[in-house]
């Protein structure tokens, strides 16, 4: 399998006033197409920074990052927006749905920015909502949906552009155990269908569902192995 995502010596330094903080200190990571990777680490480990760089929401200070054959290490904000739109699908811990829009229009949003015409947009959004089992709820607003349903809407939104990579940041962090099971089952289906997923989590039982787990500590990936021992 070819590498969908490859990082070499990625560093990220934040300059907060006079103090420079090294959030990432040389990360090497490769994710193959079709893989399902969980990234684990305590708070302050650089987990969020890594997620931002993988998600093209931020650029590395040094090092090389290729996503789907494109070097995104030193792109402009405009080009990064384009990469996020075409190659990435985000699932956030707090769903990040727009409350004034219906589920359908929330899912249509990435297609709006891709310039897809309204007819095709609607068709694809309906398909994605059907895919996550919300065909009956397309005209509901987020406030009228349960947490689990809202997260399924955001999974539909991540799927609708047919991205190369689905990036989930603590996707079950705000969900009860039933909804958590629900969403993880949905991820299992997606990976079975050949989707590539990278998931940030601090819950071992969630990370267990991934094919591979990566640990980050103090800005470095410490191991790249199946689950190890008890959590802190």
């Amino acid at each position: 399998m070819s590498a969908l995502l490859s990082m070499e010596g990625v560093r990220k330094t934040y300059n907060t006033g006079s103090i420079a903080v090294d959030a990432l200190r040389g990360v090497n990571l490769t994710v193959d197409a079709g893989d399902y990777v969980a990234i684990m680490g305590p708070s302050g480990s650089g987990k969020s920074t890594l997620m931002h760089i993988i998600g093209c929401l931020d650029v590395p200070t040094a090092g090389r990052y290729e996503l789907d054959g494109v070097d995104v290490s030193s792109m402009t904000e405009k080009d990064l927006a384009d990469v996020r739109n075409r190659k990435l699908g985000f699932v956030f811990q707090s769903f990040n749905l727009l409350h004034s829009l219906t589920a359908l229009r929330n899912v249509e949003l990435p297609l709006v920015y891709a310039g897809v015409n309204p007819g095709e947009r609607r068709e694809r959004a309906l398909l994605a909502l059907d895919r996550v089992g919300l065909a009956e709820r397309v005209n509901h607003r987020p406030g009228e949906l349960s947490g689990g349903q809202q997260q399924r809407v955001s999974v539909a939104r991540a799927l609708v552009t047919d991205p190369a990579l689905i990036l989930a940041d603590e996707p079950t962090g705000n969900l009860d155990s039933v909804s958590t099971r629900d969403i993880l089952a949905l991820f299992d289906e997606l990976t079975a269908a050949g989707r590539t997923i990278v998931m940030i989590t601090h819950e071992h039982d969630v990370a267990e569902r991934a094919k591979r787990t990566v640990h980050i500590y103090d800005g470095l990936l410490t191991d790249d192995a199946p689950l190890a021992g008890a959590s802190r």
Partner: protein, 409 residues
């Protein structure tokens, strides 16, 4: 790239989600636009009305009025000495002195009590000559005006205005009726056609009598030949300024004074119009300026609310960026929102302006003149104000880093 239709739809959704705030923000622009439209419209209306009134006094007219002179007693206006006389009028009527003058009407006036057989009334009595009719561009509706012979013989005849006629004689024909003016009996020989009200007096409420009769029987002045003003008519519009110079030069030399010590003032109708126009123009500009400041304040309101909107919607902006919105798309979205606020406010303001003009025109008896050019300009200005006010907030939104935007919970 996101199309315009979608951008406008998104902007309307966002404004609609904060209806109360959007409405209040628009109110600022609305009041500003309506205020500018109404003040400028009122100014234009007042100008037209004043110009019409001055023009209705006559055509190609020159007016000579006495200046108050400082008497020997040393204080001004202590005894108003009228420095113009019928002799001045006779001189100006001489074609060799003032060839550009077509007609001269020396005029004196005073308030007097009138009495018909049934009722009493008070009106302005004017003593003048037959030329008054043409100089003042008046016509006789019924009956006739008095003649030069009647002036020479100091006949007790009077021509009255339409209002005076209806007050004294109601609907009966006043021609041939007798009335008293200041206790003196007069025979009514004619009624003037209506002229409408002017700045200072009602031109239809007047009694016109021969100048000699006025001087002999009605004047309060001890100088029988003095007049309160001399109305002159130039032969045509082109000779107006020539006539003005002739009149001025002739009077200066006749009175033995220089331009700086002149005891009279010569003004043309055009000069009066110009003076009135410049006065109302200044007033209009002043009021319009104050109204424009309220529009500016409205614009600042739009900017303020857009800034609040940007900081409130940091997460939304971050999410949109994560989903692929480029900085320019975000900037455009906020600019369109601000532009819509401005333009909707402007449209509603224009509506209020028209409503206000419909209400104010009859109340102030001045037609509020709202021009379409000004209205379209107002719409353009309100859109521009919205856009300009939106630039800074929109740029701030566009510059937000997606991670900072997503992080703020």
């Amino acid at each position: 790239m996101m199309d315009w239709k979608e951008t406008v739809r998104t902007a309307i959704d966002a404004l609609n989600a904060r209806r109360m705030r959007s409405a209040l923000t628009m109110l600022g622009i609305l009041i500003g636009i309506a205020a500018v439209m109404l003040t400028v419209g009122l100014g234009q209306g007042a100008q037209t009305s004043i110009t019409n009134q001055i023009n209705s006094l006559g055509s190609n007219m020159i007016i000579v009025t006495p200046s108050q002179t400082t008497g020997s007693s040393g204080f001004r206006g202590g005894s108003t000495v009228t420095t113009l006389t019928t002799r001045d009028a006779a001189m100006l009527a001489d074609p060799s002195v003032a060839p550009s003058v077509a007609a001269v009407a020396p005029t004196s006036s005073s308030q007097a009590a009138l009495q018909s057989s049934t009722t009493t009334w008070t009106s302005t009595v004017v003593g003048t000559v037959p030329d008054w009719l043409s100089v003042r561009a008046r016509t006789v509706e019924t009956g006739r005006f008095f003649t030069s012979d009647e002036v020479n013989s100091s006949a007790n005849v009077a021509v009255i205005g339409a209002t005076t006629s209806s007050e004294l004689f109601d609907t009966a024909s006043p021609i041939g009726q007798t009335m008293t003016v200041g206790g003196q009996p007069f025979t009514v020989i004619g009624v003037l056609a209506t002229a409408g009200s002017s700045l200072s007096s009602n031109e239809d409420d007047t009694v016109v009598v021969p100048s000699t009769t006025f001087a002999a029987r009605l004047s309060t002045s001890d100088n029988a030949i003095s007049v309160s003003s001399i109305y002159l008519q130039a032969t045509d519009a082109e000779s107006l300024s020539a006539a003005y110079q002739e009149v001025k030069t002739a009077l200066l030399s006749a009175h033995g004074v220089t331009a700086t010590t002149a005891d009279f003032t010569v003004s043309t109708q055009a000069a009066l119009v110009e003076a009135a126009t410049s006065m109302t123009g200044v007033l209009t500009a002043l009021l319009g300026g104050i109204a424009a400041i309220s529009l500016l304040v409205g614009g600042i309101g739009v900017m303020n609310i857009m800034l609040v909107s940007v900081s409130e919607r940091v997460r939304e902006i971050g999410l949109r960026k994560a989903l692929g919105a480029t900085p320019s798309v975000i900037r455009r979205q906020f600019l369109v929102e601000a532009g819509i606020l401005g333009m909707l406010g402007g449209l509603l303001g224009i509506g209020l302006g028209f409503l206000g003009s419909a209400i104010l025109s009859p109340l102030l008896s001045i037609t509020v003149e709202i021009s379409w050019v000004a209205t379209l300009l107002a719409l353009g200005v309100s859109l521009a104000i919205g856009l300009v006010a939106g630039v800074y907030p929109a740029t701030r939104a566009a510059k937000l880093a997606p991670i900072d935007a997503l992080r703020s919970e």
